[in-house]
């Protein structure tokens, strides 16, 4: 068994080396394909995390108060709101508190807010909704109240975000599927060349009584090796580029969007497995397709 495996892998490396140019071409093609795939992957997981972090605010409605609305008036508003259906709790958030929260979100860049002469943020009332179905009604009612400036209601944003995310996911899936097929074709063509170059050998092997798997093995291994090499190269490139992106504009982007980017380590770890799985299946699939005609007896 180990003997067999050793033979197969040795043959595969020999073939790859003998067909250097074509093997390299396949590696390039699959790597390019995986890179595009990787960009989509990064986009999707980042949009997903953004959506998740916004979702946390999903069950809250924030009512911004006009500056002239004093504490008594706000107290009255709060009492009124508490009486509405589906309201879990009502909380007053002063402009100082709001600034503090913002500072925390901005993290290291929070000191930037210290230079503000006056606090531009409004006082607000934060409503926590008991039942999400009732959120729409509460928001509509809140807009009719006196002394308020604006109602910030996250459901719309979240809905939009989820719709966009879903659309992106579907588009990415379609493009990924297309790319996978393209790379299978590329690999199968490369291997078909190796197979053609060795068709005489394959014929002889068949006459001497080699099993189909014995003949197929080295070609299969060849495809898999090409797949693994491409996967590792593309993960390397993506991890490198991503770390640069995080390093240069990442922190600023994060504070502005108030959502974190997916950390490099987590991303790389996941990407390695996904790409290896993809690379191996593309390689294996490609070689099986190209062999089928030759072993069909």
């Amino acid at each position: 068994m180990i003997n067999k495996l050793g033979y197969t892998i040795k043959q595969a490396f020999k073939q790859i080396f003998r067909n250097r140019a074509m093997s390299l071409a396949s590696v390039f093609a699959i790597t390019a394909m995986l890179l595009i795939l990787g960009v989509f992957f990064l986009l999707i997981i980042n949009v997903n995390t953004a959506a998740e972090s916004v979702k946390k605010d999903y069950n809250t409605i924030e009512i911004f108060l006009q500056d002239q609305t004093d504490e008594t008036a706000s107290q009255q508003l709060m009492t009124e709101i508490t009486g509405w259906n589906d309201v879990a709790s009502v909380k007053y958030r002063s402009k100082d508190e709001a600034l503090q929260i913002l500072k925390e979100r901005w993290g290291e860049s929070g000191y930037l807010l210290d230079s503000l002469e006056s606090n531009p943020l409004p006082n607000s009332i934060v409503i926590t909704v008991k039942n999400l179905e009732g959120a729409d009604k509460i928001a509509q009612n809140a807009k009719k109240l006196n002394g308020i400036e604006d109602v910030k209601y996250y459901k719309d944003t979240v809905d939009k975000l989820l719709k966009v995310t879903r659309g992106m996911k579907i588009a990415a899936m379609v493009i990924m599927a297309f790319l996978v097929i393209v790379s299978v074709v590329v690999v199968s063509n490369t291997i078909k060349l190796t197979v053609l170059a060795r068709s005489e050998e394959i014929n002889i092997m068949k006459y001497v009584g080699a099993t189909n798997w014995f003949i197929r093995g080295p070609f299969l291994a060849e495809g898999i090796i090409i797949g693994i090499v491409s996967a590792l190269i593309s993960v390397g490139i993506i991890a490198f580029v991503y770390s640069r992106v995080i390093g240069s504009l990442g922190t600023e982007l994060m504070t502005i969007l108030s959502t974190p980017l997916v950390p490099l380590g987590f991303m790389t770890y996941n990407l390695v497995w996904i790409f290896l799985a993809l690379g191996i299946s593309i390689g294996a699939w490609g070689s099986i397709i190209s062999m089928r005609r030759f072993l069909d007896t």
Binding site: K4, I204, Y207, V208, G209, N212, F214
Partner: protein, 251 residues
């Protein structure tokens, strides 16, 4: 060893073999003769199960070839050595590797390979060429390598498809002598050939096929006692006894 029982094979409307029944015993040496397109290649392909018969039953070594599954074909072929007119050696492998290759396929240990390959090469008289590449060898030497490869796994049947077709007469006789030795060691040999002089002088069983039918099946003894230089109306071949029996001359 090999039995054809009312075997018929057609290619579209063309006849490959037409209701052929024949029995080849263990240790037999049989010549398969006939004009091009008579069905000789079909006969061999059927034995190797490269193609399937339309009708009838083919048995090789008590196994019904016609009923083998695709998975069983490799094992079936390991029992049959094959030699071709064009040698079919791998050009990028040495003589030793070409022969060892047939053993690697059956996953023999390195030790067995190292023991068995030199034995076979010496039997074929090409020990000194072990580390040469096929294009450094003469045609006759290449055919010896091909035969070595065919017998290294000790098949019970050796099929030779015009093994002397590309060789000059002297070299042809050398190859025939080797085949005869292999046959005497117990291997059944089925040889397709056009060379009438070889068929006549070897004095073995001859099966003639024409238009997919067996038109003649004669044992060596019959051949030997046959009146020389008689043109038979049936096959239009000229028999001559000139040269005598090769294997007896050589020994």
């Amino acid at each position: 060893m090999i039995t054809f029982d009312h075997v018929t094979k057609r290619y579209n409307s063309n006849i490959g073999l037409d209701d052929v029944s024949i029995e080849i015993g263990k240790g037999d040496f049989v010549f398969l003769v006939g004009p091009s397109g008579a069905g000789k290649t079909t006969f061999i392909k059927l034995i190797l199960k490269e193609i399937d018969a339309d009708k009838g039953r083919i048995m090789v070594k008590n196994r019904e070839v016609t009923k083998l599954s695709n998975r069983e074909i490799p094992m079936h072929r390991r029992n049959i050595g094959t030699v071709f007119q064009d040698f079919r050696l791998l050009p990028n492998k040495t003589v030793f590797e070409n022969v060892a290759f047939a053993m690697e396929i059956t996953h023999q240990t390195k030790r067995t390979v190292r023991r068995q390959v030199p034995q076979v090469l010496s039997l074929m008289g090409i020990s000194s060429k072990a580390y040469k590449y096929p294009d450094e060898l003469s045609a006759g030497e290449q055919q010896r390598v091909a035969i070595a490869r065919a017998i290294v796994n000790r098949p019970t049947v050796l099929i030779a498809d015009e093994p002397t077709g590309n060789l000059d007469p002297d070299t042809s006789w050398e190859i025939m002598r080797l085949l005869d030795i292999i046959n005497q060691r117990g291997t059944t040999i089925l040889m397709v050939t056009h060379a009438k002089d070889i068929v006549d002088r070897m004095n073995k069983r001859v099966v003639a096929i024409e238009k997919g039918r067996v038109i003649r099946d004669e044992t060596g003894a019959y051949n030997r006692h046959r009146d020389p230089d008689v043109k038979t109306a049936r096959d239009g071949m000229v028999y001559s006894r000139a040269g005598g029996l090769l294997n007896k001359n050589d020994k």
